[in-house]
Point group: C2
Chain length 365, copies 2
């Protein structure tokens, strides 16, 4: 039972209208809204067939039609047009991307805000790293009882921590400590940091006061944090503006589901393809709480062993085309910025803020 071209056109019209209005769509509306030159009666017949085929649904006998998940699926797969972004939108995205002189987590939250304010749906950003290891340790002596531990992860991330001690140590000790860690604690995963290894290190640098343990604890924490991944929800309040979430219970249910980062981290269940958009429509979602919502997901590369995901959650009646276009644009932009070994910033920045290189040279003469 194939679907005729005309049926496709009608289905598209119905879905577009429903996305726009959130109200069941009647045959009359479709007939009037131009596009196809048919009477409402014809459209009615076609719609009846589309209903029989499972692409449309009827809330009750004398109401208009509403797209079924199957209908949305067809729409997403082949019907909808690739929407282009407006100048203004690309402009906004670009400028938001430019101030990226920041840590990854800040960036994620900013990108989430950007996505949610562009789409008017809540957005979710995740970073799901692949098993992290530390490639390098630096210990910076600050005071007799204080030093900074800096570790570099195999991605491009760097983490640090100021460590106070209840006793004093000298610079030499700190240096020895760093040397030992760099030889014996790099390129290993969390579970390879064993008591035995720590013990060995303690002997190697003559540590009797548990210094090794302190640094090792920091390393463990960092590795666990890094491989735990992070999830941020932005623009949650957008949900409440949607007619399908006027029921506070429904809104509450979804919101509290989304507020728990544990749940979010489980989102990217099907992570086959890369780089392109993935759409999960209503019941296609595994999580019960998402069964009548849709999720649009874009992946991006955040360095070698970092997989970023940015997603948007909304009702099944979602502006798939627009959301997909925006996410695609953001994700490719992000990948470009993050994957490249980060162009040297600061030059232009300072110049813009203060004055140009030339002006500056001049003014100091």
């Amino acid at each position: 039972m194939d679907i005729s071209d005309r049926k496709k056109k009608i289905l598209t019209a119905v879905i577009d209208a429903y996305i726009a209005t959130a109200e069941p769509v009647g045959s009359k509306l479709i007939a009037q809204s131009g596009g196809l030159d048919l009477s409402s009666a014809t459209i009615r017949n076609e719609m009846a067939e589309l209903t029989a085929m499972g692409y449309l649904e009827q809330p009750h006998t004398s109401a208009g039609r509403v797209p079924s998940p199957q209908g949305y699926r067809l729409y997403v797969n082949e019907l909808m047009e690739r929407q282009r972004l407006s100048m203004e939108e690309t402009e906004r995205i670009n400028s938001a991307m430019n101030l990226k002189m920041q840590q990854l987590d800040k960036l994620m939250s900013d990108i989430g805000k950007l996505a949610s304010s562009l789409t008017q749906y809540p957005a979710v950003t995740l970073a799901a790293p692949v098993a992290a290891t530390i490639t390098r340790y630096d210990l910076i002596y600050v005071e007799a009882d204080t030093f900074i531990a800096v570790v570099m992860l195999d991605g491009k991330d760097v983490e640090n921590k100021l460590i106070h001690l209840p006793f004093s140590v000298d610079r030499g000790m700190i240096q020895r400590l760093a040397a030992v860690f760099n030889t014996d604690f790099t390129h290993i995963t969390v579970d390879q940091i064993t008591p035995e290894r720590i013990d060995r290190a303690e002997r190697a640098c003559g540590d009797t006061m548990g210094l090794v343990s302190v640094v090792a604890a920091f390393a463990i924490d960092t590795l666990q944090n890094a491989s735990r991944g992070e999830a941020i929800l932005s623009g949650a309040s957008n949900l409440l503006a949607l007619p399908e979430f006027r029921d506070p219970d429904k809104a509450h249910q979804l919101l509290s589901y989304l507020s728990d980062s544990e749940h979010l981290l489980g989102l990217p269940a099907a992570e086959g393809e890369d780089s392109d958009i993935q759409v999960l429509i209503g019941p296609e979602n595994v999580a019960e709480e998402l069964k009548d919502s849709s999720v649009v997901i874009a992946r991006y590369n955040a360095g070698d062993n970092m997989r970023g995901i940015i997603g948007v959650v909304g009702p099944t009646r979602m502006d798939y085309s627009g959301v997909a276009a925006k996410l695609r644009y953001i994700a490719t932009g992000l990948s470009r910025i993050l994957a490249a070994p980060e162009p040297p910033r600061g030059f232009e920045k300072l110049q813009v803020k203060e004055m140009t290189e030339d002006e500056r040279k001049d003014s100091t003469k």
Copy 2:
């Protein structure tokens, strides 16, 4: 026109009942619920007077009474009992505080989650630093075209950034750079990082490639970030469970107000007293969006020039007593942990996770 003891008792009973049920309270209910041995008629008379005095309000003629903001104010100031936390609650708070081997911003978000899940209201955590400066720079050579910049702020915070260059530099250059920054760029505020100063530094270390600018840009960014303050909203979805926010429009309005960190940063308008709880009831809030919500705020010290605030937002019918007790406990705990020069962690941690010191020593023998 003074308020008699009996009136106070009745007012307290009304408020307690209203906090619990969210429904207008009738004289009968108060009469029955023990405590005072009076007939409903007497209570009616007293309640009528309390209404005349402005402590209670009537939604409509034949409904029960509802506390007015003035009533809540009296309640908060002198009527309510200092609630004690249950064992379970103190337990939860303590254990949450213990895993504090983390950055400040992570900590803030964790504390926010803790507060909101304990109180069942949305929680807000802010860190509003006083003009930050950098006390120390460290530049760590990684590769010919890569180094890590680590700066220490006058609080206890440390920030870092991995810097890639489009050209190579040698270790000597990096060292000179660090030396110059440590002598000329420490203990100054953002606006003192001028083109002149940068120019001077460039000459001082013979930098012709704009290295100074790059590091200076990082310093500027860090300082701006640090003094911008940060605001995190947690547990937003709790709002939707409250009967006063069953109206999605109301919920939406408040939620989107709270989602904007700009707004939150403006919250601590009246910051007179320290260390104790502050309650802003309904119209006492400056922001229009909060006019019929209440905010309970606790301050804590997060080091020398860092002022932390943790707050809870809810309807005017809020469990002031319980919320205040919880926040007070959290805030004092936080101050203790953060103000103290941070006890050495790691020892215990590792031991707990793996085995005890003794066991470990034994097992390696």
